[in-house]
Structures are given as C-alpha cells and as structure tokens.
C-alpha cells in the first residue's frame, strides 16, 4: 500500500486580475510513492514540479482528482479534507522542505529548527537538543545558533531551513530543490539523511536538479511533462 498516491489530479489557476485568464497547468497527475521509496519528479523548469508538491502539501487547492495520504491506520484524501484535518496530517505525517527559509523576526536559529518538534508535543529541552545536533550536522557554526537568521547568508539560511524541515521524522517527505546552492559537503549530508529516512520507511517525493544527488537518492523518476496541459 503506497504512503502517498495521486490520482488524476488537475490544477487550473484563474487569474482574475488578468481578465479571468484561465491557466491550466497540470492534468491527469497520477503516481504513487511506497514506504522506503524516493520518487524524483523530472522535467524542465515551469513544467509544474513545484506545483505538484504544493498540491500535496495543500498550499494549492486541488481542483480535480484525489491526493491520498496514509495517516496512521487511515487514508485521507487531502483534495477534499477540512483545513483542520490537513493541519493534523501535516503535523503527523507530512514534511515539506523548500530551499527558502521564511524567517520569523526575532526567533533564534535553534528555536526555528526545534519548533516543529515542539508543535508535535516534544519537550522543549529534548527538541532543542535534537535541533542542535541537526544544526551541527549541517555545519552551522554554533555561534549562530542563538541569533535570528534574518541577517544570515543565503546558504546558512538554507541549511537552517533544511535542519528544520528534516528534523521531524515524518512518514512522507516532500523536498523541493533541497540541495540547490549547497556545497558538496552539505549536499552529502542531505543525501545521507534521505537514505536514512528511506531505510526507516519514509516515502519521499523530491525535485532535484543535481544529477549526482538524483542518482544517489532516486528509486523512481516521474516525468512531469506528461502531466503538462497542451498550452
């Protein structure tokens, strides 16, 4: 039984500020990810790879089709689930990591990384301990941990975001260009973590441009161009 399955998903944007222009971006999106499997979405820029991840996470509303996510013993169709249900599924079952950190003013790097664990119910001390270990793993210098990352370099912010997104052990993990602009050492950290998660049964859907990283983590490649609508 797949951990995640998309069936005939379609997405159209209606741009009311452009005279109601309808922009059909995806149709018939159908694929599945089994536990322990990494599905890599391929296709040129603009083919809709990131849109698929946003549909799964629920940032984009799904117009048609089903997005079935296993949450414990039940399967939830996120395309029609109530907001409260989606939030619960995100908390327990679904991780989503992009390359961009949405910096929260005044919150330290360590607290930003620990926050998702605390939201899941972990004790603050334990969460901070695990956050510190993850920051260390991503080679973020310890002197930065207590500072808010708004002023950090792009690469440092990205590593803090990765530490935050990869820390909770969600059974499904969505990765949008996790290694873009990382150096070789930190790319290897991402690859190691993805492999560890796969070994522990996580289902992963990833967008990765770096061919080496793709070869290192991918089990299945899904070409997104076949879901693109004829423009």
């Amino acid at each position: 039984m797949p951990a995640l399955e998309l069936k005939d998903v379609a997405k159209t944007f209606t741009m009311h500020l452009q005279g109601g222009l309808k922009l059909s971006v995806l149709r018939d999106v159908t694929f599945a990810a089994e536990p322990g499997q990494c599905v890599v979405l391929t296709g040129p820029s603009g083919a809709g790879k990131s849109s698929i991840l946003k549909l799964i996470y629920g940032n984009y509303r799904c117009d048609e089709g089903a997005i079935l996510v296993r949450d414990g013993d039940t399967t939830v169709d996120l395309a029609v689930a109530a907001p409260r249900r989606i939030l619960a599924v995100r908390r327990r079952a679904l991780g989503y990591v992009t390359q961009f950190l949405r910096a929260v003013p005044r919150v330290s790097a360590l607290d930003i990384v620990a926050e998702p664990l605390i939201a899941e119910g972990a004790a603050a001390d334990e969460a901070k301990g695990r956050a510190a270990a993850m920051l260390k793993r991503f080679n973020v210098p310890e002197r930065l941990w207590s500072l808010p990352p708004a002023t950090f370099s792009g690469g440092e912010q990205q590593r803090i975001n990765l530490a935050r997104g990869l820390l909770p052990e969600h059974p499904i993990l969505l990765l949008d260009e996790p290694t873009a602009s990382l150096d070789a050492r930190n790319r290897a950290v991402v690859v190691d973590i993805v492999r560890e998660r796969k070994a522990r049964g996580a289902a992963i859907v990833a967008i990765v441009h770096d061919e080496q990283v793709r070869d290192d983590i991918a089990d299945v490649a899904v070409d997104v161009t076949r879901f693109a609508t004829a423009a």
Binding site: R84, V104, P105, I118, G121
Partner: protein
Amino acid sequence: MMSDENDRPLLVAEGLTKYYGRQLGCRDASFELYEGEVMAVVGESGSGKSTLLQLLSTQIEPSEGRVLYRMRDGAVKSLWDMTEPERRFLLRTDWGYVHQDPQHGLRMGVSAGGNVGERLMAVGQRNYGNIRAVAADWLGRVEIPQDRIDDTPRTYSGGMRQRLQIARNLVTAPRLIFMDEPTGGLDVSVQARLLDLLRRIVSEMRIAAIVVTHDLAVARLLSNRIMVMKGGEVIEAGLTDQVLDDPHQPYTQLLVSSILPV
C-alpha cells in the same frame, strides 16, 4: 493523542448576521473554531471584520444567527441564551480581548501589577502575595522589566502597553482570545517583537484565537486559518497558506498581489 473533548469545536458561529438599521454590518458568517487554532479575519476597513469580532465576543447582539460555546465543564451554550452575569464571567475568565488601542484594554491610572492582578481577583484570588508573584511572572513573560511593576501604563511606551494588555488577558489562562489589530499603530520593530511573543504564548498555552487584521503578513505569521471579508460577507476561507498562496476570489487575489515586496 487527542481527547474526545478536543474533537468538539470550542466555538461555532452559525449564520451570524448584523444589520445596523438598514446598513449591513456582517452577513451569514459561519465557522467552527477548535482549541489551539488561530484564525485570522482579514479585509479592508468597512469589510465587516470588526463587526464579526464584536458579535463573537458578545459586545453586540446579532440580528440573526447564533454563537455556540463549549464551556469548561463541557456543556455547549448559546451565548445570547446566557444571562448577562454568565457572559461577563466568561469575558473575565475564559476569554481575553486584546484591543488595538491598549488604553481601551488597560486601566491607565493603575499600576502594571494591578492591571494584571485585577483579572486574578476577578476570578476569586485574594492572597496579595500570590497575586503579585503571578503578576510579576507574567510581566516577565511579556518582557516587561520587573522594576516597572509599580509604574502605571501611562509611563509605558506603546509596545510595552500592548504587551501589558496581553499579560492582563492571559493571566487567567483563557481558552479563547480575541485580538483586534493587535499590532496596529506600532513601529515595525516593535510589531515584530509583539508578533513573536504572541505566536509563542498562543502556541505554548494552546489557546484558540481570532485575530482581526488588515495585515496579511501578520495573518501568515500568526494564524493557521483565515477568513477574507468584503462588504460584510466572508468571501473566502481556508488554511492560511492555501488562501494566500492560491487565492481564488478576485478580491483576495487583489489583496495578495498588493503586498509590497521587501
């Protein structure tokens, strides 16, 4: 992990409608709010968002519709079927209300400690030493220096007044807090500090909150869910990131596209 209790909504609004004479304030607003959820209500002035907040917090009586609230003992009551003393007790204990202008939510001539302690006395606490200790603890939690406990809010800056108002509201461990433009009228740097504080406290205490704001960045930072209002009606609602990343209504698209990038 979740108890049955948490699977029942804390507050249910059903068809809330308010006419001021023939003028529409708010029409047919319906939603459910659960413990620990933060809902933002956004829209321009005159959209009905403040009317909705006043209806929910029993400051004005609806023309139609009702609000159901689950009390601490589990009983679900319709707010306007309660007696006036019952409603006032709710406001003093189980609810908080953070006004945009702290002067409306504070007693300006009473010391900061007194402002916080007053809410405790309203729920029956009488031991002066305890009340002062709890007040001091709360001042610390909202980052007000201990040595300012005996000063009145008149001597405080705008940001400090707003933080004091929050401490006054939260000291009774309410389950629901209403906030009307909580960061309005503050400098940007002061806003950030307040937002961080609100976010942390609301999530630590698992309080449900309804936050009226015209600032979409505030909504994104604080809320899980959002309702967009225009002309007295809720025109779009859903998860906050969903509505802001994939707005469907023309007005919501206009709002989202009108934010200046920094």
